[in-house]
């Protein structure tokens, strides 16, 4: 029988330590919505999303009330639109029309975000991939709920440098197109390498072609819970530290698993995966940087930070995989800057630089995330940053990503306010030396050798 102590512990995690389920995301295949007629395609897409997801929000709210656990976001991810729109989109404007149709249905069913305005161009771009990518700035400016992602490389294919060059320009154009809102469009646009097919987190969520018609993926959270648990083992050995993180990750993941199974049962949609990510929010105490400090660095970014993060990331996975048989998505610790109060403080006091963040991305689950940079950063430099991250992902067989925001009209020392879960961020310094000759080369970086491991 459950003891009073256990009940109090769970409720304390929820009330005081920000335990929540970060997102229930329904992945929906739109492959059967494709039609040669644009308007018909839009109607098909809207009908299919309505069919699977119209009860998502109310179901999420009901589960939340019955178990007393907050479920912060309800989202939808869809087949990369460059595939769905290939037959009917002949211009970038045609793709923008689809973006507007998606935005309309997202608002209608009440979800927080819809991800999958995407193209997978790891090796090469089709005409429709290129049209979709070129439509991103306008699509991001004209919609509220749509998230976009472009996968520019993978361990198996290498890095498509033509796409990397184009994405540097697209990130800049998106910043310009949304400059009156502090370039917010770039917060909904991510460039990936080795993107997973089943990621429930935005902005990189899309429903891969390896997936069934519809699936439920759940993203857990809980940096606050890990931080509070670690407070009780200050000064103790790494063995005790790791054990504590694993136990906590287990508990957090079990809650995610329960919510995923309930949502799956009530909506009649199969359960896909749990994404074991420590996803911070700007709320005080809900920070991955705070965990790193609790492990023992003065500020995130100080020497030792990469090792702390590597340890944290690994223990979260080890505890989490015991709690759920189906783990997928990104799974690890997220290190966004603007969404994490501890990271913001570390960046503001000079402890954290983009270069250190890049090193940290080698050992955690994502990449350079929610980093505000000066608005006058050249497109080629942005492409260089993307290429660096993609190279880390390609060589280390992991997902990496870049979601940076060149804030038009602002420079180092200034701050940008995105609001809500996206938080605020100081503009961080970018290395002033260029890389345009490198980025201007055409073609792709070959896939790395993964043989000869003796």
């Amino acid at each position: 029988m459950i003891s009073q102590r256990e009940v109090i512990e769970t409720n304390k995690m929820i009330d005081e330590e920000n335990l929540d389920v970060r997102t229930i995301t329904i992945g929906i295949s739109l492959l059967d919505c494709a039609d040669a007629d644009l308007e018909k395609t839009c109607r098909n897409i809207q009908n299919k999303i309505r069919h699977y997801a119209s009860r998502l929000v109310e179901t999420g709210q009901a589960i939340s009330r019955e178990y007393g656990i907050p479920i912060v976001n309800k989202r939808v991810s869809i087949t990369p639109i460059s595939l769905v729109g290939a037959a009917c989109c002949h211009t970038s404007q045609d793709y923008v029309r689809i973006a507007l149709a998606l935005d309309e249905v997202a608002e209608e069913i009440g979800i927080n975000f819809l991800g999958g305005y995407s193209a997978i161009v790891s090796k090469g771009m089709t005409t429709s991939d290129r049209l979709l990518i070129e439509s991103i700035p306008e699509a991001m400016a004209k919609t509220n709920y749509i998230c976009s992602s472009v996968n520019v490389g993978s361990t198996k294919t290498g890095i498509n440098m033509d796409a990397v060059r184009l994405m540097g320009e697209i990130v800049r154009k998106t910043a310009l197109a949304t400059s009156e809102r502090d370039s917010l469009g770039c917060a909904k646009l991510v460039v990936l390498c080795n993107a997973p097919d089943d990621n429930p987190f935005m902005a990189g969520a899309f429903h891969g072609v390896t997936e069934p018609d519809a699936i439920i993926n759940v993203g857990v959270s809980g940096p606050g819970v890990v931080k509070y648990a670690l407070q009780s083992v200050r000064g103790q050995s790494f063995e005790v530290l790791c054990e504590t993180i694993k136990k906590t990750a287990f508990k957090i993941t079990r809650v995610g698993q329960l919510v995923a199974q309930e949502a799956s049962r009530r909506l009649g949609i199969p359960f896909g995966i749990i994404d074991l990510s420590l996803a911070p929010t700007p709320a005080v105490g809900d920070s991955v940087a705070d965990i790193l400090q609790e492990i023992g660095v003065d500020k995130a970014g100080a020497p030792g930070t990469t090792a702390c993060l590597a340890l944290l990331n690994d223990q979260v996975k080890k505890g989490g995989v015991m709690a759920s048989s189906y783990v997928g998505g990104l799974s690890g610790a997220f290190i966004p800057v603007s969404e994490d109060q501890g990271m913001i403080e570390a960046a503001e006091c000079g402890a954290l630089s983009i270069e250190k963040l890049e090193a940290m991305t080698c050992v955690c689950s994502v990449g350079l995330d929610m980093i505000a940079i000066p608005g006058d950063t050249p497109a080629t430099t942005i492409s260089g940053i993307i290429a660096d991250e993609a190279a880390i992902g390609m060589v280390n067989q992991k997902t990496t990503a870049v979601r940076i925001i060149p804030v038009i009209g602002k420079g180092v020392g200034e701050t940008v306010e995105f609001g809500g879960l996206l938080g605020h961020a100081p503009i961080m310094k970018v290395n002033p030396f260029g890389c345009s000759d490198f980025v201007s080369r055409t073609g792709r970086i070959p896939a790395p050798i993964h043989s000869f491991k003796n």
Binding site: V7, R65, E66, Y67, G68, R254, L258
Partner: protein, 90 residues
């Protein structure tokens, strides 16, 4: 069997258990276990109840208990047992 856990926390006042039990009885909810402690004047009570034979919509039960708690100046939560079971049992 459809188990839920009801927890009450707050300042100890007369009639907290009576009030909760009345709501449960009115809705044909059986109490299986009650434990309570008072530490530093803070009242902590946990009840394990079975809602299987109750006609009430679960959401409404949660709301009614919550409202009763607000009237008495305490916090009353009603949660399905699985969340605790999943988290604390392998």
């Amino acid at each position: 069997m459809d188990k839920s856990i009801i927890t009450v926390t707050g300042r100890d006042t007369v009639g907290i258990i009576a009030k909760v039990c009345t709501i449960l009885a009115e809705n044909n909810i059986n109490i299986q276990d009650i434990s309570q402690t008072i530490v530093d004047g803070i009242f902590n009570m946990m009840m394990i109840v079975d809602t299987a034979k109750s006609p009430i919509v679960y959401d409404e039960l949660v709301q009614r208990l919550q409202n009763a708690g607000s009237e008495m100046g305490v916090r009353i939560l009603c949660q399905k047992e699985e969340i605790f079971d999943k988290m604390h049992r392998i």
